[in-house]
């Protein structure tokens, strides 16, 4: 296993985000939900990049905008949600400027997505084989026989016995169905897969099997992953770099281990002290008092300041700090960190 990985890993060393040309680059993305009570800015000027063969994790509480970003990247947002600004570049293509036809061709071939409880999105009256073949034929010129051969190969790749190809979704366990959905996402060898809470509905043993499978497939095929979850333990374990969302904004970006061991933004710091772990010292954890703000009337200045115990009066409640580089490879949006840097 190890030897195979070594042979196939790229000769490049991913050291800093600037060393390689990004595969996906999101710049100043803004998404609004138009509601009866006014416009909700669910995603506010979010920028990040994902490199080839990188796992980029997005974490945040419910309503922080992380899933909205996934939907925006795949242009699957439906009214009342609208992209109101920014650009999403996939290599040299602006996804937001693509016409529907090009977009349809582009999705799945270059970029695919696995949703939360996607296993329940399988059509109950079609066998999983038929559904994989459909996905292949909708996005390529493969004949039925070629598509079926590919479907068999894909099932093997995600660890499902090939004789299950004619099984219907109800004949498979939750973990197997989620594997089948991952097989569909892999069908056309995309360069990037978005995993939006892919294992949230599954038990830990099955979750671990699937995450190891995804890791193995990534090592084998070299795609990038945008991994969205609220499970911080899983994210720190799996991702290369992590972006932390709060109330629609990206507040910190850092390599996973650094983010866990040395979080810089007060919100990240508190978040990392909000969940118990199964190893290491057992210590008192506090969580974060209060709740995330209502995005119809977000607080002025930094959106975290009402819950922050290091808030600077007259500054944090007035000026919203921008996301800036505070150390090589590390970004944060906090007035305290700007001061430390100066």
């Amino acid at each position: 296993m190890v030897a195979v990985t070594k042979v196939q890993s790229a000769p490049t060393t991913v050291s800093t985000p600037t060393a390689q040309k990004p595969l996906l680059s999101v710049r100043n993305l803004e998404v609004e939900y138009k509601t009866g009570r006014g416009a909700v800015r669910a995603v506010d000027k979010v920028s990040f990049e994902i490199l080839p063969n990188e796992v980029f994790g997005l974490a945040g509480e419910s309503g922080s905008g992380k899933s909205t970003i996934a939907h925006a990247i795949t242009r699957l947002l439906r009214p009342p949600a609208f992209i109101t600004g920014g650009e999403i570049m996939f290599k040299d293509n602006d996804l937001l400027k693509m016409d529907d036809r090009t977009l349809r061709d582009f999705r799945w071939r270059h970029l695919s997505i696995v949703f939360q409880s996607a296993m329940n999105a399988l059509n109950p009256v079609l066998s999983i084989g038929t559904q994989i073949i459909d996905a292949i034929q909708a996005h390529s010129y493969a004949t039925k026989a070629e598509a079926r051969a590919r479907a068999l190969e894909l099932l093997k790749v995600v660890g499902i016995d090939s004789d299950r190809i004619d099984s219907y979704p109800h004949q498979l366990s939750g973990g197997m169905r989620q594997r089948a959905v991952i097989a569909i996402a892999l069908a056309l060898n995309p360069e990037m897969i978005i995993l939006d809470e892919p294992t949230t509905a599954l038990d830990v043993v099955v979750q671990k099997e699937i995450m190891q499978e995804i890791q193995r497939l990534k090592d084998q095929f070299g795609f990038s992953i945008l991994f969205i979850t609220h499970d911080m333990s899983l994210l720190v374990e799996f991702a290369d770099r992590i972006g932390i969302m709060y109330a629609g904004e990206l507040v910190e970006v850092a390599p996973a281990a650094q983010l866990f061991n040395d979080p810089k933004h007060p919100y990240t710091y508190k978040l990392m002290n909000s969940f118990p772990t199964i190893s290491g010292p057992r210590r008192e954890l506090s969580g974060i008092p209060g709740s995330p703000p209502d995005l119809i009337t977000p607080p002025p200045g930094c959106r975290f300041h009402p819950r922050c115990d290091r808030m600077i009066a007259g500054k944090c409640d007035v000026v919203n700090p921008p996301l800036v580089e505070i150390l090589p490879g590390r970004l944060a949006a906090c007035h305290l960190l700007e001061q430390e840097g100066a």
């Binding site: 830990v204 979750q207 499970d231 799996f238 969940f275 199964i278 506090s286």
Partner: protein
């Protein structure tokens, strides 16, 4: 910990629940919980850990008297509560043993204000003191740190966040001054940043009021944090019990070891982790044989594992497991 020497308030003995499914032509018995025994003690938290379908919620619901057990005993203060008949005894048990559910979005009535949810148990269980029921409601909200109490009392459930709603559910349980609280996955639907607030609140109630807790969870890390003792369930059987810290540092039963190796751990990377080896899936509960249910997945499986369920082996004063590896030297 403070009263670990005190008498158990609830003693569960060989509790079993079988569900009948299917129709007249094909009766199937789902063996959800089989011969489960444990104690709940004032001032202590016992965690029931397992995957979905392991029987942990069914066990909690039998203790809440929401399901009638197929066999076994629930001794409450030494009396078999399953033999209690009559409204008075039932009401007393239901008052003293309260339950908190997983989903705070569906456990509160959306058409009623928060104060209604707290006034009702006070009235039904005769705890309302004439004239000052409002003060009692405010005091309850204050105990679960929902302030300003006057404002919260007038709100509707949809105006509160998930964490606040779960606090209301705890306040409602506290209204009747319970001795036991059964908490069924109380934090799993909440955001990470507010989970610890709920667990810490419950830990405070354990320490300050000596309430006995049963904490049902799928999350070993939170059981380690909150529970004094952790019991592991697999396919309806209780397979291991130990002080929570010992369980995660020295798991003995092969299933506990598998479960632990599957838990995400930020301290170790997924890629470098070679300890995890899953084999097969959880068995169908209506097709279980007589042996250990984990045998088909166990890497230490022996011929006799499929012939009978291993008996309890005591490993120390506080630890036990059900596995032939530790039995029959």
């Amino acid at each position: 910990m403070m009263s670990s020497n005190s008498q158990p308030i609830i003693e569960v003995r060989n509790l079993t629940k079988h569900f009948l499914t299917g129709n007249a032509l094909s009766r199937r018995v789902v063996r959800a919980v089989q011969e489960v025994s444990f104690d709940l003690t004032p001032g202590r938290v016992v965690a029931l850990v397992g995957e979905s379908g392991s029987g942990k919620s069914t066990t909690a619901r039998m203790l809440a008297r929401l399901y009638e057990p197929t066999s076994g005993e629930i001794l409450y203060k030494g009396r078999n509560t399953l033999k209690d008949r009559g409204r008075r005894a039932m009401l007393q048990y239901r008052r003293e043993v309260q339950m908190i559910f997983q989903d705070p979005f569906s456990s509160l009535n959306p058409v009623h204000r928060i104060k209604y949810h707290l006034e009702r148990p006070l009235r039904i269980h005769g705890k309302a003191k004439r004239g000052n029921i409002q003060e009692q409601v405010y005091a309850l909200l204050d105990r679960v740190a929902l302030t300003p109490v006057e404002e919260i009392a007038e709100k509707y459930p949809h105006q509160l966040s998930g964490g606040q709603r779960q606090r209301v559910a705890i306040a409602r349980a506290l209204a009747v001054e319970p001795e036991v609280i059964l908490a069924d996955e109380p934090i799993s639907m909440l955001d990470v940043s507010i989970r610890m607030g709920i667990l810490n609140l419950m830990a405070k109630l354990r320490d300050e009021q000596g309430i006995a807790f049963l904490y049902v969870t799928h999350d070993l890390a939170s059981a380690r944090y909150f529970a004094d003792e952790t019991l592991v369930m697999y396919a309806g059987h209780m397979v291991e019990g130990a002080p929570s810290e010992e369980l995660v540092t020295q798991p003995q039963h092969p299933y506990t070891q598998l479960l632990l190796s599957a838990c995400p751990d930020p301290a170790k990377g997924l890629r470098t982790d070679t300890t995890f080896e899953a084999r097969g899936e959880v068995p169908n509960l209506s097709e279980l044989g007589v042996g250990c249910p984990f045998a088909p997945r166990c890497r230490h499986v022996m011929p006799r594992c499929s012939q009978a369920m291993p008996p309890v082996t005591h490993l120390s004063d506080t630890r036990w497991t059900r596995c032939f590896l530790f039995n029959g030297h």
